[in-house]
């Protein structure tokens, strides 16, 4: 099922959480709402879920028309603490009106099937307090899936977990989505998570959508400074263009080259300040002649060839840079 949000605004007192937001999600798509805290991404998700109501002054009603069955997964799991894992997952089926409620045997079958899906068959009788964070979040997901939702909404689902568990669950979620193809919206402030999992990314800032696009698009062709800055680290140069106007030039650390000689007009002299060689890439922090801090990332082989030392004088040259022009209305 598709989701469409048209002209949605929402304020809490004087704080405008959302300002005239429009968004369309295609059936079976996995979309990530990405932004810093306070950008309105969770508010948008809660409005789509029906937990929050949009200010109607802003525009038309929120589609989808007619309440869709929504599977919602909370950041802090929100498992029912006084129920076992089994009962938590069964809850959505048990509360159905008599006419549409499955038989006890059917409910049991469905819950066991979901327990196998989340690989927790052996823990059906445990209480939430007896599970680890990652296990709880899997139970929360199974509980949401039990009602066969048309839409799956995830609010920072892995935010409270440690890095390793997070990685695993992220991949598991993507695999699950590839199997069941359910329209899914994921809220996250973690750009790696969004880039890795989502079909499309919606970058949000201060209640507005800054850019919508595939992970490749938003990463390689950011629409503006905010998106560029939010999706990974950047170096900022102040350059003077023809006519004396100042331009802000952005370069990603992996698009910078270090050499012992100047390679072009845009090369900058700098001193190596720190070297982080642990990790897949070597990260070098430098200070330019005019005191700017620069970040450069390079493969280990290149680092070995250069033989860099802290305090060394080098030249830094951008390979690829971005300049954003303000939209001038004439």
């Amino acid at each position: 099922m598709s989701i469409e949000v048209r002209g949605v605004s929402k304020s809490f007192g004087k704080f405008a959480a959302l300002r005239d937001v429009n968004l369309k999600v295609a059936p079976g798509e996995l979309v990530a709402l990405l932004g810093p805290s306070g950008s309105g991404k969770t508010t948008l998700l809660r409005i789509i879920a029906g937990l929050e109501f949009a200010d109607d002054a802003g525009g038309g009603p929120v589609a989808p028309a007619g309440a869709p069955r929504v599977g919602f997964v909370f950041q802090h799991y929100a498992l029912f603490r006084h129920m076992t894992v089994f009962e938590n997952i069964a809850f959505g089926l048990r509360v159905r009106p008599k006419a549409t409620r499955p038989s006890d045997a059917k409910i049991r079958e469905r819950v066991l099937e979901l327990l196998r899906l989340i690989q927790l068959d052996s823990l059906a009788g445990r209480y939430p307090s007896q599970l680890s964070g990652g296990q709880r979040q899997r139970v929360a997901l199974a509980r949401a899936l039990a009602i066969e939702p048309e839409v799956l909404l995830l609010d920072e689902p892995f935010g409270a977990l440690d890095a390793k568990v997070r990685q695993g669950l992220r991949r598991w979620l993507r695999k699950l989505h590839d199997e069941i193809h359910m329209t899914t919206i994921l809220v996250t402030h973690d750009q790696d998570e969004a880039l890795e999992v989502a079909d499309r990314i919606v970058v949000m800032n201060q209640g507005r959508i800054e850019q919508v696009g595939t992970p490749e698009e938003v990463f390689h062709r950011p629409a503006n400074e905010f998106v560029m800055d939010f999706l990974g680290s950047v170096n900022l140069f102040h350059a003077r263009a023809e006519g004396g106007q100042e331009r802000r030039v952005f370069v990603r650390p992996h698009d910078m080259e270090i050499g012992h000689q100047a390679q072009s007009d845009s090369s900058v002299r700098a001193v190596v300040k720190r070297i982080h060689a642990a990790g897949p890439m070597v990260k070098v922090e430098l200070e330019s002649e005019i005191g700017e801090t620069l970040q450069v990332e390079m493969p280990h082989e290149r680092y070995g060839v250069l033989g860099l030392k802290v305090g060394a004088d080098v030249y830094v040259s951008p390979r690829e840079s971005k300049v954003f022009f303000e939209d001038y209305s004439i």
Binding site: G50, F72, A78, A144
Partner: protein, 270 residues
């Protein structure tokens, strides 16, 4: 070391003087003329009426306190509305106002010269008045217990239940009630103790009609004033036993609540 002995000793001395000795005195005095006199005092028709009236008033007041408490706690913790802090202050009013004043307020409203006097509702100097006075002094206990508890527990589980298709009532019965049941029971115990022991407010509105409008505390006072000490202490021992039972139940609940809180903390740390 010296300080510890001194402080512990002082506390024990104080408690003995003001609590244990009087408690023992009640039982000793009540049984001074033997178990027969004790039982006779309790089986006296006037005493029986007082006991029945107290049980009736307390049970109605507790039910009222539970209904009001859940509604108030729900309203305060789940919704934003203007005048919320004013409402919280009003909930505390019965704690702040002397019970005698509460009783006098009811006389002003329902008495012959009162606002509703001309209606002759038959509230004052009768059971309805006593029930109303008891409700007044005991209604905040449940609300006071539930508000902080529900504030701390948050609303996510209820939201999850609603999104899973549960109705409001199902959510309340299956999710909220199990979450707050211990706090609720604690409030009920406190409200009940207050309702059964209430003297001031009830004294003003009851009219002290023997065998009709006397509750246990009022009956004790009358017996005492008539120098019928054995009977007075015998009936008073009932209230004392109730107080002990309440304390026991409270201690048990506190232990249970602490254990739950510790489990929750472990959960949060995990």
């Amino acid at each position: 070391m010296k300080w510890r002995v001194l402080l512990v000793g002082l506390t024990v001395l104080f408690l003995s003087l003001f609590l244990l000795v009087p408690l023992a005195a009640i039982l000793v005095e009540a049984l001074r003329k033997g178990a027969g006199a004790y039982v006779r005092a309790l089986l006296d028709p006037d005493a029986m009426v007082a006991i029945r009236l107290t049980l009736l008033c307390a049970s109605i007041a507790v039910v009222a306190s539970v209904i009001f408490g859940i509604c108030a706690a729900w309203a305060v913790t789940r919704f934003r509305f203007p005048g919320k802090s004013l409402l919280l202050t009003f909930i505390d009013l019965p704690f702040a106002v002397s019970p005698v004043v509460a009783g006098l307020l009811m006389v002003l409203v329902f008495g012959g010269q009162g606002w509703l006097g001309p209606l002759h509702l038959g509230v004052l100097f009768a059971t309805p008045g006593i029930i109303l006075a008891t409700i007044f002094v005991s209604f905040p206990f449940v609300a006071r217990e539930l508000i902080p508890l529900m504030q701390e527990q948050g609303t996510e589980e209820e939201e999850a239940a609603l999104l899973l298709g549960a109705s409001g009532w199902q959510t309340f019965v299956r999710i909220t009630l199990p979450k707050i049941k211990w706090g609720l029971l604690y409030g009920v115990i406190l409200a009940n103790a207050r309702a059964m022991g209430e003297f001031g407010a009830v004294s003003v509105v009851s009219g002290h009609i023997r065998g009709r409008t006397n509750t246990i505390p009022l009956h004790v006072e009358i017996l005492y004033n008539e120098y019928n000490f054995v009977a007075a202490f015998a009936v008073a021992s009932l209230l004392a036993l109730l107080a002990l039972a309440t304390l026991g139940a409270k201690a048990l609940l506190e232990w249970k609540l602490r254990r739950d809180a510790e489990a929750a903390q472990r959960e949060a740390g995990a």
